[in-house]
């Protein structure tokens, strides 16, 4: 068991007053068998208490409706989370052939369709010219995914500001650069092309341990492996997800997991600052 301290701050400043706004924040650590929230508190510049309700995948979404003019939106979250130690190398009793048969069965494909259907952000271009590993019945799915994780890690170089949240895979594969969500989208896309259900995950990553992408919210992928369930892969770091990762939410792609969505009535520009702190309790 490890305990993490998380601090998340977002500050938006607006050139012209915002008359009305709806904000949705998807930043709370998820509640699941691996992670328990010990403490949690938040505050918002509108002075109102946050309203929390499930989003479409059942994750806690914070919403704020503001109907008084403002030029600054500030939101802070403090949380302490306990994460269970888990061995990411789990072993299935199924043979590769049995696994393959389950994955390619009609019912399995239908039950997991949401994570098999390509979206605009995970659509694989047809002429990318890259020989991604292909999933075959001779190889266990887990081994295949390790290979794919390594392949994408080597294919793309991590480069902040090289892409934005709307960059399609086509562009990422052309420049062979990206940030964590691009690594995740490419991973998801290759899985879906191979009929393997894969979902996008957003979360926090322990800082100070030389992980790539820990200074902001991180993104990785969960893949459904028969018998084992959803297993996390982080192609940005070529690692398996372990107890240094704190999950916020999952969805079909980045758009289901954006940390902040705002619909505003304003004419001017805005600038946005995010600050993420994730510490092991002992480090404090």
């Amino acid at each position: 068991m490890e305990t993490f301290y998380i601090e998340y701050t977002i500050e938006n400043n607006y050139e012209k007053p915002v008359k009305k706004a709806n904000f949705g924040l998807l930043i709370l650590p998820a509640k699941n068998p691996f992670q328990t929230i010990k403490e949690q508190s938040m505050c918002c510049s509108d002075g109102k208490e946050s309203f929390i309700s499930p989003n479409i995948f059942g994750f806690d979404l914070i919403t704020h409706y503001i109907d008084k003019p403002f030029t600054r939106f500030l939101f802070k979250l403090f949380a302490t989370v306990e994460v269970k130690k888990l061995n990411p190398f789990q072993i299935t009793t199924l043979s590769p052939l049995e696994e393959f048969a389950i994955i390619t069965s009609v019912d399995y494909q239908i039950d997991n369709h949401l994570f098999l259907t390509s979206t605009s952000l995970t659509k694989m271009p047809w002429n990318h010219g890259i020989w991604f590993p292909v999933y075959r019945s001779e190889q266990s799915l887990f081994d295949y995914l390790l290979e794919l994780n390594n392949f994408i890690y080597k294919l793309l170089s991590y480069s902040p500001q090289s892409t934005n949240v709307d960059t399609p895979i086509e562009e990422v594969l052309k420049i062979k650069k990206g940030v964590c969500q691009d690594f995740a989208h490419v991973f998801i896309s290759v899985c879906r092309e191979n009929k393997i259900p894969a979902r996008y995950v957003s979360g926090y990553l322990i800082q100070g341990d030389a992980y790539i992408g820990a200074s902001q919210l991180h993104a990785w992928v969960e893949v459904l492996i028969p018998e084992l369930g959803w297993v996390g892969f982080d192609a940005t770091n070529n690692l398996l997800v372990d107890n240094n990762y704190i999950k916020i939410a999952h969805g079909t792609d980045y758009r289901d997991c954006s940390p902040i969505v705002g619909v505003l009535e304003t004419a001017g520009q805005q600038n946005s600052k995010h600050l993420v702190i994730v510490k092991n309790q002992q480090q404090q």
Binding site: N55, L61, Q109, T252
Partner: protein, 487 residues
């Protein structure tokens, strides 16, 4: 009223190549039209024209207009063209039609519930799973969510035609808040005044109850823990082509007509801004398309929606009618499977026929379509209002080649059907000062609520005013007739 022995309908030549609704032969009407033909035959042409014009000016005075959109042009505001000669449907014929429409609605509603939950029809391979999941109208926001009462399609518009064989065929289902019912009600109002004697003699079934029935249906699907629900109609605004209808229905139901900007969501409840402060809204008859409903979920640039509406809906605090995501079932590629859908869920034979449909996504069908394009109507699967339709028999060989290229570029997007012969109805043509056969179809309006259903007795008979034209949509220059269902 001087007739001099000349009877205005005597010179009418029935459309021999097509099913003529009114006449068996020149001067010899069908039994259920006898009274009507006799009535008109007592008038002179100028009488007829005068009454027809009276009706039209009453539409103009009521502001019953619609807008036609064309690329690079301002919308053109028009009066809905109208013909005084009513379409008459005998009692038994109507009953079968009504049964068929209700059967279809029940099955489609069960289908929607299934594809958003257990997906049994897909696992049983009755409907191909890819067809559903690849549809842009299949919404993940609706997966594993059950709308109040399990009702998805509160309002359906079913388009039917009568073919040369005298049988009704379903042309398409409209499950995304179909328009047209306000014309039915205003047509009737105008016609009842102008043809009072005839109307009384025939005792056609009334249609005025529709708004009342719609309100009742909407109340049956109110959210839990709400006693007397507040119902509103949400319109995209006065520039929408169906704005007249939105305001008409709101007024007749006695409920507020609002735009997205008049509503807001706080803590998953929807409120309407009023001069007395915010008022909670429980049921929304929304005439805004799915993708514009909530900029937090769908199109971010939508100014027509309400931010946070989908979360309020999923929390069960407000009901949307129709439910989002129903468009996956009126996709023209799914249309082909509706007879199988009826058999699957209801274990009944379909009462109404489907038109044979070729889906260009299937290899064999595509081959047939490309080879026989001159005999087929090609339609995009996800457009409405008659846009994007090409009729093979009217195309030049260059145009045929262009259609082929279009189909091959996006096979999922197109279906093709044999060119159906729509029945014809005697219609007064002002330019020629005589009655001529013109193609007609019928849109029925039906409602589905929790343990209740209703079909408007009659519907909108649309008439293609251009000779030989098969597209009856108002946006393509069609007109309408009142539809009388006999008692």
């Amino acid at each position: 009223m001087e007739s001099n022995g000349y009877r205005i309908l005597d010179s009418y030549k029935p459309g021999n190549a097509h099913f003529d609704e009114v006449f068996i032969d020149s001067g010899k009407p069908k039994e259920h039209y006898q009274n009507t033909v006799d009535h008109f035959n007592k008038l002179t042409l100028s009488d007829y024209e005068r009454i027809n014009n009276e009706v039209k000016s009453s539409f103009f005075n009521q502001g019953i207009t619609f807008a036609v959109y064309a690329e690079d042009k301002k919308p053109d505001e028009r009066i809905f063209p109208f013909d005084l000669f009513p379409r008459i449907i005998p009692k038994d014929e109507w009953q079968e039609l009504e049964n068929g429409v209700l059967q279809r609605n029940r099955a489609i509603n069960l289908f929607l519930n299934d594809i958003y939950h257990k997906k049994l029809i897909l696992k049983d391979k009755v409907v191909p799973a890819d067809l559903i999941f690849s549809s842009k109208n299949y919404l993940k926001e609706m997966v594993d969510f059950t709308p109040p009462g399990g009702i998805y399609t509160h309002v359906s518009g079913t388009d039917l035609i009568k073919h040369t064989d005298g049988k009704y065929y379903i042309l398409e289902d409209n499950l995304r808040c179909p328009s047209g019912v306000s014309y039915v009600l205003s047509n009737r109002l105008a016609l009842k005044k102008s043809l009072f004697d005839l109307f009384n003699k025939l005792k056609a079934k009334a249609v005025y109850q529709y708004p009342e029935q719609l309100l009742e249906i909407l109340k049956t699907v109110k959210p839990k823990n709400v006693d007397v629900p507040t119902v509103v109609v949400v319109t995209p605004g006065m520039y929408n082509s169906a704005y007249f209808e939105h305001s008409f229905l709101a007024q007749k139901m006695g409920v507020p007509l609002v735009e997205g900007r008049d509503l807001f969501v706080e803590k998953n409840f929807v409120y309407m801004k009023t001069i007395y402060g915010p008022q909670k809204v429980d049921v929304i008859y929304r005439r805004v398309d799915d993708e514009f409903l909530d900029p937090m979920h769908f199109r971010k640039d939508s100014m027509l929606g309400v931010p946070g509406l989908m979360n309020a809906y999923r929390a069960g605090n407000v009901t949307l009618a129709n439910a989002p995501g129903t468009g996956v079932a009126d996709d023209k590629a799914v249309y082909n499977y509706v007879p199988d859908i009826i058999k699957y869920y209801l274990n009944e034979e379909p009462i109404l026929n489907n038109v044979k449909t070729y889906h260009c996504d299937r290899e064999d069908d595509l081959k047939y379509v490309l080879e026989n394009i001159d005999k087929l109507v090609v339609k995009p699967v996800d457009e409405s209002g008659g846009y994007g339709i090409t009729i093979g028999s009217t195309l030049t060989s260059e145009e045929i080649d262009a259609v082929k290229v279009k189909i091959k570029a996006d096979t999922r997007k197109y279906i093709a059907q044999p060119i159906m012969s729509l029945s014809v109805h005697a219609t007064y043509i002002e330019d020629n000062k005589e009655f001529e056969p013109r193609h007609i179809d019928l849109r029925t309006f039906s409602l589905l609520g929790k343990n209740s259903e209703y079909v408007l007795k009659g519907g909108l008979t649309r008439v293609a005013l251009k000779r030989g034209n098969l597209i009856v949509n108002s946006s393509q220059g069609g007109g309408s007739k009142d539809t009388w269902v006999l008692d």
